[in-house]
Subunit: 69 residues, 6 copies
């Protein structure tokens, strides 16, 4: 599957925190940065996410803000 | 200013493409990845963005999807 | 690729409208509904979208609102 | 009320899962597809959602991604 | 129509800027603040927006960030 | 820090509701309106949010819908 999101960052799952409806997934991307994602718990289970698993953090360009100091 | 977005990635502006309403900004973050952002042209002008400028790509955790191969 | 978005609707591209930065893509999904999407023009070109092409409309659950009459 | 969202899909509530802050609502739209939505629990209560209730799934065009096989 | 968005702010259209795909709409809400919205041009035309028209700015709670000084 | 979001509304925290993963923060902005935000609980803790604290509600223009009666 190819997807229209401009930002597809390869990495590994670092940490998973489950709530009743949502799950917080932290991914360490190749460059070293950590990306935090909130997905539904059902999605996390369907993707069989676990620490160390290779994943992509996918972000639509219109959802990225730019800040300056 | 501190912001609630979990993802605040430091980088430099690599490329700017202007449309009449929106502007596409590509940022190379410290780890080497490129992040593409769509912001309003008015915002790009207010932030005085230009190639090479130090910026942050800011992304709310609930806007990040996770994909697996 | 499997993705955490809960909503992945199969369909065909019905119409494409290009702007300088963004492209509007209308997809007719199997059930008959039309789904309109705005993606970057660069993404539309990378995916080689054209009328009639089989695609998926992908929507994160936290981006869906519910309305009642 | 008329709303600027390009995607307003009529359907019926199929399933509701409550968390302490958020609620997951699954809607079966006319065409047969299921759409999953995460809204605040307070919103779900204000709309008096229950299984079988007629609702609309409302999605802004800029929140829809396109994927291809 | 009632909608699950927690934030529905009444106001008047102050300014409209059209691009080929998107339109930027500025709304002055009752409290005096200005809210800027990007919607598709097709939506702006369907809603027959014009300066001075009474409208609502509608924002899902999960799309609001919090910042501190 | 300056940020590309077009909507940065000054106000005070009115109410905080914690879930295991997410926190709902209600802000009363200067004009009197209440804005509800869902952020991660970790973000709420990092920002040391408490009732009465001065904050900004930050909203990207592409996340604002427009509705009419």
């Amino acid at each position: 599957m190819k997807i229209s999101a401009r930002n597809i960052l390869k990495g590994k799952v670092l940490r998973i925190v489950n709530g009743p409806v949502n799950t917080e997934v932290t991914v360490r991307v190749s460059g070293g940065e950590e990306i935090v994602s909130i997905i539904t718990r059902a999605s996390a289970e369907e993707l069989e996410l676990s620490e160390g698993k290779e994943v992509y953090a996918v972000i639509k360009a219109s959802h990225v803000l730019i800040a300056t100091d």
